[in-house]
Every structure is written in C-alpha cells, then in structure tokens.
C-alpha cells in the first residue's frame, strides 16, 4: 500500500493492521469555516508535486526510523471546501506514546518541508495566500 500520497481525490482513511501494534492513531486536518481573515468558503491547495511527494516520502521514512513505527500520510491538493479533509496522517505503533510523538512530528515537518501552499477563498470574494 502506498504510504505517501499526494492527490486531488477525496482522501481515504487507511486501514493499517499489525497484531504486534497496540496503538493506531489517525489525524485529519480539515478546512475550517473561519480564519483570522474572516469567513472561509474554500482553500486552494497548490503544490510543486514532484518535490512535494519526495519530501513526504523522506519525512515518513525518517520518522518511521526514528520511532520504529509505521506512518501513512496523504495530502490533498486542488480546491477544498469547508469541512473537507486536506491532510491525513496515520501511525501504527506498539504503544501510544511513540505513536503520538511520530504523528505530531510528521504533521509539523509536512507543514515546514513539503512544498504545498494554501490560498484562502473567503465568502466575501477575497483570496488570501496563507
């Protein structure tokens, strides 16, 4: 199963099974109806796809090694309306502690290292780069 995904399609929740693993954590990042800029209608996600995918794979590989866990991460690109899921990060691990640490680290690194950008489309018609 592909563990690093960049897609325009609706994100699916992965089913990771491993009887040696006691903790399965799934994070979903969704488009919010409000931001500091006002009422949001949608967010347009753009990416330098080639590099985005290789960065995503690198982050997953490094976090998996660091915590000895299994990580899945999928980011959606294109125009997403309020309530839709832009990011899914799932982590399977023996115990919850390293599962949470790994999940949080993957999300932070995605936000800092994966070449994806957000343009917020507000209900009053404005468009704001985030």
């Amino acid at each position: 199963m592909e563990k690093a995904i960049l897609t325009k399609e609706e994100l699916e929740l992965p089913v990771l099974e491993d009887h040696a693993m006691g903790s399965f954590i799934v994070f979903q990042g969704k488009v919010r109806s409000h931001s500091q800029n006002g009422e949001v209608e949608a967010i347009e996600y753009s990416a330098y796809e080639e590099l985005a995918l290789s960065q995503l794979e690198k982050i997953i590989r490094e976090v998996e090694e660091k915590y000895r866990v299994t990580v899945y991460a999928a980011h959606r690109i294109g125009r997403l309306t309020v309530g839709e899921t832009a990011l899914v990060v799932a982590t399977l691990s023996p115990h919850r502690q390293e599962g949470f640490l790994a999940t949080m680290e993957v999300i932070d690194r995605i936000k800092n290292e994966v070449p994806i950008w957000k343009k917020e489309i507000l209900t009053d018609g404005r468009a704001v780069w985030l």
Binding site: G29, Y45, S46, A47, Y48, E50, L51, A52, S54, H75, A86, L87, I107, I110, K111, N112, E113, V114, P115, I116, W117, K118, W129, L130
Partner: protein, 76 residues
Amino acid sequence: MMVNEKMVTVRFFGKLADLHGAQLLLDAKGKTIQQLLMELNVEGVYMLAVNGTLVPSNATLEDGDELAIMPPVGGG
C-alpha cells in the same frame, strides 16, 4: 512553448507566482541562483530546487535545468 535546452526554465510557486509569473524561460547558464534572484528582484524565497531536488542558493545553473523558486510552505 518549446523548451530550448539552451535555456533555464524558472518556475515560481505560491504568491511568488502571482508576483513574477508562473514560469519563465531564461538564458542563465553558469549563473548562481543567488545572482538570478537578484537580477529578477525576487524576495521571500524559502526553498529552491533544481530538477526536483532541493539546492542551496549558491548552486550554479546549467542549460536545460528547471529551477523552482518557492515561498514559505504551508500545507496541512
């Protein structure tokens, strides 16, 4: 636009694309990325990549290269 191997393809992303256009074709052979950025008066650069691989700004450009100039990223 026929890609001329003699040229460098420069791609901008995020808000830099709004400011400088999504894509340019230039003769930048032998220049460092820093030089090119100054010439193009590009500010707010967070990441650079040549042919899909991250590079430092002192990297030198070759004909046929694709240079990606990226502002601060923010997915999730």
